[in-house]
Symmetry: C2
Subunit: 347 residues, 2 copies
């Protein structure tokens, strides 16, 4: 360890994920030397408590990163593209929670339970995968290791906090309006910068991020491409349908997989997942035990239940994967990467 | 037509589906002679307006069905098991919206756009399929006709009104409690008669109906078995994951299919669905046009969007199917069956 700890910068410290990053650093008793909280000019000047002491939020500039060991970025892709290279140039290791560098071949895309050793090849910037991808690969990797994996079809049930604090506020305001018998107003979801906005309260919206020209959304393409990169399986067949729900926190996923091994059954998947790192098996239909956003929120693990063999495919299994999208899906995975960097003596 | 119209009984007239059955009969200007509104003893005595005149709800007994031509049942499986045979014995044709007789080989299970002619084999009782099954087969049948169909994997996003008026009230009360910062109370969902109850507001619950011993819920097994029966395809590979959402009305489904025909693309599916009966194609990603529960509620059609070819399977396609679960999923399909009976001169 360097001196009394590592100098950490959190970029986007006032956001939904940034707030959770600070909570994770505290909760893990992370060896923090100096902490620097950075944001846009708009949020600068606010005071945030960290480990019992007030810290003033500063505007993020290239110079902010002088003397920083690890910079956790979660302030949107534009800010990352602009400032992550500046931070890296000044010797900080960037752990970036946006999609800006994820598919860059020079940037490791890491879920520590899956591909921690990819960190060894970092060149100053490390990418934290998309929230919905992280929880899925954490559950699938132990299965792949033992049974092989050839195909993944996922349908997501995603929480609004993935779209930030404004989306949470909008969902609550719309819910209250509808309960009052009033017309809900929509200005944020599904995508703030897109042309049209739709009610999320008491609804299900099959659009997360904007549309690619192939009819898939960027969120769906992230799940497809990132899964292959993290698992080192360019040949893996993956498809995704991503849907936003009126849930504050906790993404759920209905996942169908085909494994390579023959003659396996639900008990094999149960055995594999009950010993898997970062995964909690929650699967007892007789007692109505299965994961839900309401019970996964606030926890760092990935919860898996509803494991069933496909009725027709010997290689096919279905499962229901739930995790806190702000924790394992973002803040916790980022802090976990920082812990791995220390463990692997890469910082 | 018999005299001035057909004598119709609606069993469960005060429920979420019964109310919509009456609305559909009115809206379609159905040739009703006498209308009889039936319910449990508890709801008897209420007055309901039908075609501008007040009708008193009576307690349903075997004798209620004397002189009735068509009896629409939607008061739970127990009532149907007890009274549908009594109605049929008295010469009424029963259209039953519960699961009581659906898999009975002597009972046609009908979605008029798919298998209307199965009505010719009825023996007094006709079953209306499960809501989530109806909208899926209505969209898949035109594709099957032209391209063949070998496999279906569906993940559902189901509204609470499928569990009745009490479930709607519970969702609203829980939503208000949570918005007020209070603890929500759960007594109805996921299944009123099951051991445990969970919050549905701002949550996603992967249980609809009780669990079968194979780890699938009865709702999932209904989708699997009913799809094969309605489409006359015992060999079709079907699997389902059914999830309840905090949505009042409108079921959505993320559906993956494999067709038999080679080399087809999204444009072929678009062409097929744009001419399909009872189906509205709503698929223009560039304009953010796709179906949602909020826009499908109150309409009788099945809406399909997000059609995409699978990135890896030449035979594979994904789509998003939404419909009003109380209308096409229940009341409208039942009234449509009644219209088909008249058209086919079976009543």
């Amino acid at each position: 360890m360097k001196g009394t700890g590592y100098n950490i910068a959190v970029v986007g410290a006032t956001g939904a994920v940034g707030t959770q990053m600070l909570a994770m650093l505290e909760q893990r008793d992370f060896p923090v030397g100096k902490i620097k909280l950075l944001s846009s000019a708009r949020s600068a000047g606010q005071t945030i408590q960290f480990n019992g002491a007030p810290v003033t939020v500063e505007e993020a500039t290239p110079e902010s990163f002088e003397g920083i060991d690890i910079a956790l970025f979660s302030a949107g892709g534009g800010i990352s593209k602009q400032l992550a290279p500046e931070a890296a140039k000044r010797g900080a290791i960037v752990i970036d929670n946006t999609s800006a560098f994820r598919m860059d071949p020079d940037v490791p895309l890491v879920v520590p339970e899956v591909n921690e050793l990819d960190l060894q090849h970092h060149k100053g910037i490390i990418a934290n995968p998309n929230c919905s991808t992280i929880q899925m690969v954490a559950a699938l990797e132990p299965i792949r290791k033992e049974l092989g994996l050839s195909k993944v079809i996922v349908s997501t049930y995603q929480a609004v906090s993935g779209a930030g604090v404004q989306a949470i506020d909008e969902m609550k305001a719309q819910s209250q309006a509808i309960l009052n018998g009033e017309e809900p107003e929509a200005n944020v979801l599904p995508v703030k910068g897109d042309k049209k906005h739709y009610q999320i309260a008491f609804n299900a919206v099959p659009q997360i991020d904007v549309f690619d020209t192939n009819g898939y959304t960027f969120e769906e393409m992230k799940m497809i491409n990132e899964t292959k990169k993290i698992m080192h399986m360019p040949e893996l067949k993956v498809s995704a349908t991503c849907v936003r729900l009126p849930v504050e926190t906790g993404h759920a996923e209905s996942v169908y997989i085909e494994v390579d091994a023959k003659g396996k059954d639900t008990a094999d998947i149960h055995r594999i997942l009950s010993g898997a790192p970062g995964v909690t098996l929650q699967d007892n239909p007789g007692e109505q035990e299965y994961p839900m956003p309401s019970t996964a929120a606030g926890k760092t693990d990935v919860f898996v239940g509803r494991v069933r063999k496909d009725p027709d495919e010997d290689h096919g299994f279905h499962m229901w994967i739930v995790s806190d999208n702000l924790l394992k899906g973002a803040a916790w995975n980022s802090v976990q990467i920082a812990e791995s960097l220390i463990k692997l003596k890469l910082v």
